[in-house]
């Protein structure tokens, strides 16, 4: 099967307009005859649900949280980018497009990225109209921040809770449609499988997490807005219940999975403090504006940070990257920290952190200025660690954060299964091999609110004569049986190792070999270890409780079963890409001075993997072409 | 219109009724106090040619009482007051019952450090005040105005406050009233929606002063008479 990105013809800046001018539409009277299932209720899924429901489609939204307002988009801190050029600093849609392509190390699709930059402008208007209290100047006009990897201020923010505020607006738009009756929400429901009829996505099998009942739901199209799978590392900045199961089960039904190994490791999270730790809290990247990152020059230096004199400190980012210093992009900063820790200079009880020091900034600007800029972050730091960061340096550590990879989608955001769409972090588009700060909220919101509702009509126009889809067909029977069998299988293991313990072991393997720096030997080792662990899971996992009723151990086990397969594909994907690009850093492929080295001759493609069963995969390549941008080497020296 | 009437049954509207009746009653307390203070002012305060031929505290107080009972506009205000008080009580009962229904199972372990005891127990304080009012009216209003068995109110007041149990009872009632006012005053303004932050700060301060002031001034009258 050849990949068809369905990019519209025409000049880059006109593609979206031309697409809209020529696409098929569904007339308003027909829309209410069409059912759409949306999975996930964050910015992408929720935005899609609300916008589609506004258009008059029958929307059913499924999510595992108790309310759509808790989707993990809520946790995004920094902001959302938009090429508004409010600061008069010369920002344009093209500049934003350029920054995103470059930040992604030339591994994303031009047309999609350009469209995201174009629609960013509308998004800010939309969110403001919905009541998002963006930061403002005293004049009453919107204020902007600057973020890593760009030369203009284009980031809109609502304090350190931008994601929450955007999500509230989206959630409220959803609730409005629930009241109108065009949207039905199914909270505490988890998708377990997809139903394909004649090759088209026609429904889902879900488990009601409260009663344990397995339900069937049919629709003319299915949209996935289920986010990323970074929780595969166990310790990550993601929510505990974020998972890759929906995308993965779609993959197993025929949707290609693209660039699975590209995971952004965020450099400034709080380090692991003990074995029982479940989560690494993110500290905003903005701290690097005033904080200096260092480790002791001496190995295993056990002195308190304030006792180490300046000449015995190694400000390694400033040393290695004099031009950008502490403000190098996320992937570079994370890798540099790992390099120091591996060399034995890590600090803290577990030697897994580096210092982020504000002493210089406090000395220069005074405590008050620092408090005003980062007060809430210092408070958060204190809440979690109990340490006053005004007096001693913060301890920070890299943590898994964002999945650039995901379901392969074309320009219309359709996966390789007709009628199955993927929006937001669940798809692979837009970010290439590394995501720029404040672009994730943007992509999720734009996909859900502006792109999908427009592209899906092109598909649904042919569905107006289909009529309601019955759920008593053999395809639904088979899918339901498979789901029930898997639940029975999980519950019959009755082993001795708790699910979380296996997940932690998986996380360790992944973080060691399939994270910031990868090499052939390590990846091959990781694949073997993952297979062993998968075997251990299916023979020795301790999954208690039963299937009829609430059972979070069973939920976790189902998700882990999928992670244990995703992990293997991630390692295989990393192994197949013999180059370093963005977040994918292969130690064998570096320049003479130790920096990442791309291989555009051989690897200028997105790797889309097709599931062949028992796990095995076939690679399909979507070759990337850059017509409107010159391909260069990223350098931050 | 049916919907609009429905709005008057909402929790916020019910709280408004509590607030308005409460504040009205609280305002009456000031008037009532003005009369009562005659009881503790020294004779020298009363000029001889004041208000007819009244010469002392005794006559002044009785003249004041006589005026209250026989001046008809005051009676109208009094009936509004009784109605307001009754509404305050009925509304409180309805609210308490609704709130009771809203509660889930009881917590096994409780911790109340997040609020003051009197703000949580307005109902109990109100009940104490209610009982107190009934006794208080039985002792004076009933005998003087309704039954007419007593004609010299001043004399009745002094006689009553020489009884130890009465003074103790009054002090309890008045302390309850003080706490009820401290919370009730600000709470009523909150219910009515006096939201500017600066107002709220001032109102909170006034509420505390008002509650304590009323309790102290009302509280010393029986004590002074008792120890005279």
């Amino acid at each position: 099967m050849a990949l068809n990105a369905k990019e519209p013809k025409g000049p880059l800046k006109d593609k979206w307009r031309l697409y809209n001018e020529h696409k098929n539409l569904v007339n308003p009277a027909n829309r209410k005859k069409i059912d759409i299932i949306v999975v996930g209720a964050g910015l992408s899924g929720g935005g899609a649900s609300a916008s589609l429901a506004e258009l008059g489609y029958n929307v059913k939204t499924f999510f595992f949280q108790d309310s759509a307002r808790r989707s993990h988009s809520v946790a995004a801190q920094g902001g959302v980018n938009a090429a508004k050029n409010y600061q008069n600093d010369g920002d344009t849609i093209y500049k934003m497009f350029y920054d995103t392509i470059k930040g992604g190390d030339y591994r994303s699709r031009e047309a999609n990225v350009y469209r995201m930059a174009q629609l960013s402008v509308d998004l800010i208007d939309h969110m403001t109209a919905q009541g998002v209290p963006f930061g403002r100047e005293y004049s009453g006009y919107l204020s902007n921040r600057s973020f890593g990897g760009v030369l203009v201020s284009r980031t809109f923010y609502a304090r350190g809770q931008t994601g929450q505020q955007l999500l509230m607006a989206t959630y409220q738009a959803m609730m409005k449609q629930v009241k109108k009756g065009t949207l039905t929400q199914y909270n505490r429901h988890e998708i377990l499988d997809f139903v394909l009829i004649d090759g088209k996505a026609r429904g889902v099998i879900v488990r009601d997490l409260v009663t344990g009942k397995i339900e069937r739901h049919s629709a003319h199209a299915v949209v996935l807005g289920t986010g990323g799978f970074g929780k595969i590392y166990y310790l990550s900045t993601l929510a505990m219940n974020s998972n890759g199961s929906a995308t993965w089960r779609a993959h197993k039904k025929g949707a290609f999975f693209a660039n699975p190994s590209w995971t952004q490791i965020h450099p400034t999270a709080l380090p692991q403090a003990g074995d029982q730790q479940s989560k690494l809290t993110l500290m905003s990247e903005s701290l690097r504006n005033d904080g200096r990152i260092w480790v002791p020059l001496k190995k295993d230096d056990d002195r308190l940070p304030n006792d180490i004199p300046d000449e015995e400190r190694d400000y390694y980012l400033e040393r290695r990257y004099p031009a950008f210093g502490n403000l190098v992009p996320r992937d570079v900063a994370s890798r540099a920290a790992k390099e120091r820790m591996d060399a034995g200079h890590g600090i803290g009880k577990l030697k897994n952190a580096v210092y982020l020091d504000f002493r210089t900034a406090i000395g220069k600007l005074g405590v008050d200025t620092i408090k005003e800029r980062y007060g809430n972050l210092f408070t958060m730091y204190k809440k979690i660690t109990g340490i006053d960061a005004y007096k001693e340096p913060m301890k920070i550590s890299p943590a898994a954060h964002f999945s650039m990879g995901g379901l392969w989608v074309d320009y219309e955001l359709g996966t390789t299964i007709p009628g199955l769409y993927a929006v937001g972090e669940a798809n692979f588009a837009d970010h290439g091999a590394n995501r720029l700060g404040a672009n994730s909220l943007l992509q999720a919101s734009v996909d859900g609110n502006f792109v999908l509702p427009n592209t899906i009509s092109n598909y649904l126009a042919d569905e107006i004569r289909t009529g309601p889809i019955p759920t008593d067909t053999k395809e639904f029977d088979e899918a339901e049986k498979a789901v029930k069998d898997q639940i029975d299988k999980l519950l019959s293991i009755k082993g001795k190792t708790p699910v979380d313990r296996i997940h932690r072991a998986l996380g360790k393997i992944m973080f060691k070999e399939v994270a910031m720096a990868r090499n052939e030997k390590g990846l091959i080792w990781a694949i073997e270890e993952i297979k062993k662990l998968r075997k251990q899971f299916w023979t020795d996992a301790a999954i208690t409780g039963d299937a009829d009723g609430m059972n979070s151990e069973l939920e976790k086990a189902g998700r882990l079963a999928d992670y244990l397969e995703i992990a293997e594909l991630m390692a295989i994907d990393a192994l197949s890409r013999n180059e370093s690009c963005g977040a994918h850093f292969r130690e064998e492929f570096v320049s003479d001075d130790g920096e990442a080295e791309r291989n555009d001759e051989e690897f200028m493609y997105s790797a889309a993997w097709e599931w062949l069963g028992k796990p095995d995969w076939k690679l399909h390549k979507e070759h990337l072409e850059f017509h409107d941008i010159e391909v260069k080497t990223r350098s931050y020296k | 219109m049916a919907f609009k009437l429905g709005l008057f049954k909402t929790s916020v509207a019910r709280k408004n009724v509590m607030a308005i009746t409460g504040l009205f009653t609280a305002f009456f307390l000031i008037i009532h106090l003005a009369g009562n203070l005659i009881l503790i002012l020294p004779d020298s305060m009363f000029p001889i040619e004041f208000w007819g031929n009244v010469a002392n505290q005794h006559d002044m107080y009785n003249a004041y009482s006589h005026f209250l009972v026989h001046f008809w506009p005051i009676s109208i205000v009094a009936y509004i007051l009784y109605a307001g008080l009754a509404l305050h009580v009925v509304d409180a009962i309805i609210i308490t019952l609704t709130n009771h229904k809203a509660k889930g199972e009881k917590y096994v372990k409780t911790d109340n450090s997040t609020s003051t005891w009197y703000s949580r127990n307005m109902g109990i304080l109100g009940t104490i005040i209610g009982i107190f009012i009934v006794i208080h009216m039985g002792q004076f209003w009933l005998k003087y105005k309704v039954l007419g068995t007593e004609h010299d109110l001043y004399d009745l007041v002094v006689r009553t406050f020489k009884l130890t149990w009465v003074v103790v009872l009054y002090e309890i009632g008045i302390i309850a009233l003080g706490f009820h006012l401290v919370h009730g005053f600000t709470s009523a303004h909150r219910s009515l929606g006096m939201y500017p932050k600066s107002w709220m700060k001032i109102l909170k301060y006034i509420g505390v002063c008002f509650g304590i002031g009323m309790a102290v001034l009302y509280g010393i009258i029986p004590l002074i008479i008792y120890f005279q």
Binding site: R70, V74, D125, Y141, M240 | K15, R120
Partner: protein
């Protein structure tokens, strides 16, 4: 640290629940409260017993899913923390900790420590939004909003919908939750168009969902993880009375 736990166990909404006692011997100070519960659940899994069900998700204090009453206090002993931000360093070796679900008629227990907070969604559905359809929006800078007003709207909008206010309130009132949304939208020019209907519908929904009335004890604002202020309730009452007066 050795910790004794008294945890509320309840099979379903209709079943009767009771406190069960558990013992943990290797709790560390650096653990978060929920990690301590993870530890307990791992012990239970090894023993083959059903795990303790509790709600949690982001574990960084923003999603609002975690919902425990710890020693009688919603979200634990520290004020303005969520349960997931509470760490074991707030407790001492040998402590006995009572863990109960949020309690209110409108928050029925689903199982153990998980409660159903759908009523919050219902309240927002009643009117907690601005009816601007996708694609309708005017240019964002067309409506200048004073910095302080925008910030004040943010203070209210910060509500995470956890329900600690209801759990703490002696009347199980959701006034703080409702008022946060009403204030957020009433403060902004975009939200002023629908303010009358919004407050009427949302307060009616609040009462219909079976929450009690507000008596301004202030306990809700003391536990609120986002420090939503009691003043918002006053603002809501103002909006309500305004709606009554102009109708």
């Amino acid at each position: 640290m050795k910790i004794t736990l008294k945890i509320w166990r309840q099979e379903s909404a209709k079943a009767k629940g009771k406190l069960e006692t558990y013992q943990l011997n290797e709790v560390e100070q650096d653990m978060s409260f929920l990690e301590m519960l993870d530890m307990l659940n791992e012990d239970l899994a090894v023993k083959g017993e059903r795990s303790v069900e509790f709600d949690h998700d982001c574990r960084e204090g923003i999603c609002g899913q975690c919902s425990l009453v710890i020693n009688g206090q919603a979200h634990g002993p520290e004020s303005h923390y969520t349960t997931c931000q509470t760490h074991m360093r707030s407790f001492k070796d040998g402590d006995t900790i009572f863990i109960e679900p949020f309690r209110a008629k409108a928050f029925p227990v689903i199982r153990d420590l998980k409660v159903n907070r759908d009523s919050f969604d219902t309240i927002i559905q009643a009117g907690g939004y601005i009816s601007a359809f996708t694609g309708n929006a005017p240019e964002a800078n067309n409506i200048p909003i004073h910095h302080d007003i925008s910030e004040s709207a943010f203070d209210s909008a910060a509500c995470i919908g956890c329900g600690a206010c209801v759990a703490t309130c002696k009347n199980s009132s959701a006034a703080l939750f409702v008022s946060a949304k009403i204030s957020h939208l009433a403060k902004l020019p975009q939200g002023k168009v629908e303010r009358k209907e919004r407050v009427e519908w949302m307060i009616t929904a609040h009462d219909e969902e079976g929450f009690g009335s507000c008596t301004h004890t202030g306990a809700c604002a003391m536990v609120c993880p986002q420090e939503v202020q009691l003043l918002d309730i006053t603002r809501m009452n103002f909006e309500f009375n305004r709606a009554l007066c102009i109708s």
